[in-house]
């Protein structure tokens, strides 16, 4: 194990010293002085491996460009003036950068309230993620820290039922939401998702790592369940709650099928469903920039969340398959 660590530091150190993106010698062993068994890539000669590394960079860079293309191109298009589409030849970047399309969003776009949609989405996703964290953390405490007869049976029954495909539930779920009077209401998107079991499973697993002796000590000092939950457990499970908040927010923000079913009032929609109404503007010269500005607006919140909380997204995904990152 320690041998591996040596190899790693040995290999990274020269790379860091290399000039602009060109790594130093990938094989310290090959520079002489190293032991032969430090060779990392199996069966490859240093020369072949250097070529393989360059090919890897080229492939990754080309793919990264493709991956960025739609976002960059919609961003650039959202800054083009309407006349540019009609009269000028194709350009990747605007001939002249204008903010007109974004200013237009302050009023309705083709009769559609894009900004209103944005705030609808903000309200829905924030509420949904916050309530998810509340429900999931207290339920997680129940399933993890308290003992009652049939606890595991109950929990795994819930888990099994929740694995039943969502599609088959869609129509009755609509009926229930309709009977609650939530058609065209943000609650139709905020509440039903709170019934999910997967997040409780995560919290439960996370809480299992917190020693129960802490609870016992607090209990001896006269603390009740609620005090133990708020004072001891809650502060310790903050990392997993942040992960759950992030995934609940992005999940809710990006939900598409369900809002198409429960909203028919244009004013009440979230922005992702609204975009579906806007997309036929793509053919029209004068509105294509506004359409792209609307799409960019819909991308911003989750992208900002990712930039702020990147490590939480990555680490939680690494863990989700049972592999520690």
């Amino acid at each position: 194990m320690s041998d591996t660590a040596v190899i790693e530091t040995d290999q990274r150190a020269p790379g860091r010293g290399g000039a602009d993106g060109v790594p130093g010698h990938p094989f310290p062993g090959a520079q002489g002085g190293g032991r032969g068994r430090r060779r990392r890539i199996p069966g490859g000669s240093p020369m072949r491996s250097r070529i393989a590394l360059i090919i890897t960079y080229v492939v990754l860079a080309a793919l990264a460009l493709i991956w960025l293309l739609p976002v960059v191109f919609s961003l650039s298009t959202s800054f083009k003036s309407p006349t540019e589409f009609a009269f000028e030849a194709f350009r990747m970047l605007p001939a002249q950068w204008v903010a007109d399309n974004y200013i237009a969003l302050l009023n309705d776009v083709a009769g559609y309230p894009v900004l209103r949609w944005f705030w609808n989405s903000m309200f829905i996703s924030t509420m949904h993620a916050t309530l998810t964290v509340v429900v999931v953390s207290i339920a997680g405490y129940g399933y993890s820290r308290l003992d009652f007869p049939g606890k595991d049976t109950l929990f795994f029954t819930l888990l099994a039922i929740s694995l039943f495909p969502v599609i088959a539930n869609l129509i009755p779920l609509y009926e229930i939401v309709a009977r609650l009077g939530w058609v065209n209401s943000p609650w139709a998107m905020i509440v039903p998702g709170l019934a999910g079991v997967a997040s409780i499973f995560l919290v439960r697993a996370f809480m299992a790592g917190i020693p129960k002796e802490m609870d016992d000590a607090a209990r001896i000092d006269g603390a009740g369940d609620f005090q133990i939950f708020f004072r001891i457990v809650l502060p310790l499970i903050r990392p997993i709650l942040i992960v759950i908040f992030l995934f609940a927010f992005t999940g809710s923000w990006n939900d598409f099928l369900w809002p198409l079913i429960v909203f028919n009032d244009v004013e009440q929609m979230p922005i992702t469903a609204g975009l579906q109404l806007l997309q036929n503007m793509l053919g029209a010269y004068d509105s294509i920039g506004q359409l792209m500005a609307s799409a960019v607006l819909a991308m911003i919140p989750t992208l900002v969340l990712f930039l702020v909380a990147q490590k939480y997204f990555v680490s939680s995904l690494s863990m989700s398959s049972g592999i520690k990152g």
Partner: protein, 318 residues
């Protein structure tokens, strides 16, 4: 199971004996009462939005219903209609099912294979900026599929898009085959590989280096050690992602709706679009038939998950 039943029976008799004193309540019941404030809210939500729809959803498939009045029980008629070759619903169902299966058959290997290749490339220890690349590949998954579809729609746009411009072609991508399917897969892979990529990458980084060194001493090349060391070592994450990706792919809906709207000539109309159209479309709702379709799709999904688990465990654990 049996202990909880006896506990409950005990609880009943003891409460009858001493109903006024809560201190005399049996332990099991007391434990429940203590825990209920914590799980209670979720249990209520689960009952209303999880359990009832699951049960009711199956029932609706055996009824004639327009979402307005009461469902009327008609037995297996909805299913009979779907399998009756003379019936219009049969054609719709088979077309939707076929297009969904086509999407799964082509899409799942891509959604597993592309991120696996990328993860192997990113796992080179001498590669710099691996996390930047990973971030770039992951981010589209956080973009709402409708915004992503509009972006790709523009990229593939016949008049304004860079693809036709740089290739010097004049293709109407979303309205002619096989391009229409092509755009759907481009959007799907663009948005869908991030999660699997991160899972594979962390799984590969957890493979002990000693295994590669031994393989190297035995004369294994890069391809050999990938097949004989990497793949067996990450079989659990592979199983997990395959099951998750397959079930998610059967639910495909947004990409064809946003890019091709099911066209050209219904060739990209998937089952979820049919279910939505029948139940919530413009005309009178045919929720019973839609439910029957949804239940059939649900059964297919559960069967596939079960088969995948069975095959993967049998093959890997021998």
């Amino acid at each position: 199971m049996s202990t909880s039943t006896t506990a409950r029976r005990e609880a009943r008799t003891r409460t009858r004996r001493a109903p006024s004193s809560s201190r005399r309540l049996p332990q099991g019941l007391r434990a429940w009462l203590r825990a209920l404030p914590f799980m209670g809210p979720h249990l209520v939500l689960f009952a209303v939005f999880g359990l009832i729809p699951a049960v009711f959803g199956i029932y609706v498939a055996f009824t004639q219903w327009n979402l307005v009045g009461d469902p009327e029980f008609i037995g297996l008629d909805n299913f009979r209609v779907l399998f009756d070759t003379d019936h219009a619903f049969h054609r719709i169902f088979i077309n939707g099912l076929w297009n969904t299966i086509l999407f799964v058959i082509i899409g799942v290997p891509l959604l597993i294979g592309v991120p696996l290749v990328l993860a192997v490339l990113l796992s080179r220890k001498d590669l710099r900026a691996a996390n930047v690349f990973q971030g770039i590949f992951f981010v589209p998954g956080l973009i709402s599929v409708s915004a992503g579809a509009i972006a790709w729609n523009l990229v593939f746009n016949r008049e304004f898009g860079p693809v036709n411009h740089y290739l010097g072609t004049d293709i109407s991508f979303t309205t002619t085959q096989p391009w229409a399917w092509g755009t759907i897969f481009v959007l799907t892979i663009w948005a869908g590989i991030g999660g699997n990529l991160i899972i594979y990458r962390s799984a590969i980084s957890a493979v002990p280096q000693e295994l590669y060194e031994v393989a190297s001493i035995d004369g294994a090349g890069a391809a050999r050690s990938f097949i004989n060391v990497t793949l067996p070592s990450i079989r659990l994450p592979l199983l997990y992602t395959t099951v998750m990706t397959t079930t998610a792919s059967f639910n495909v809906f947004a990409q064809p709706l946003m890019l091709t709207n099911g066209g050209p000539a219904d060739s990209t109309t998937v089952l979820m679009m049919e279910v939505r159209d029948l139940a919530f479309g413009g005309g009178p709702s045919i929720a019973g038939v839609a439910s029957a379709m949804a239940v059939l799709l649900g059964l297919v999904l559960m069967a596939i998950s079960a088969i995948q688990f069975f095959i993967m465990y049998r093959r890997t654990d021998v």
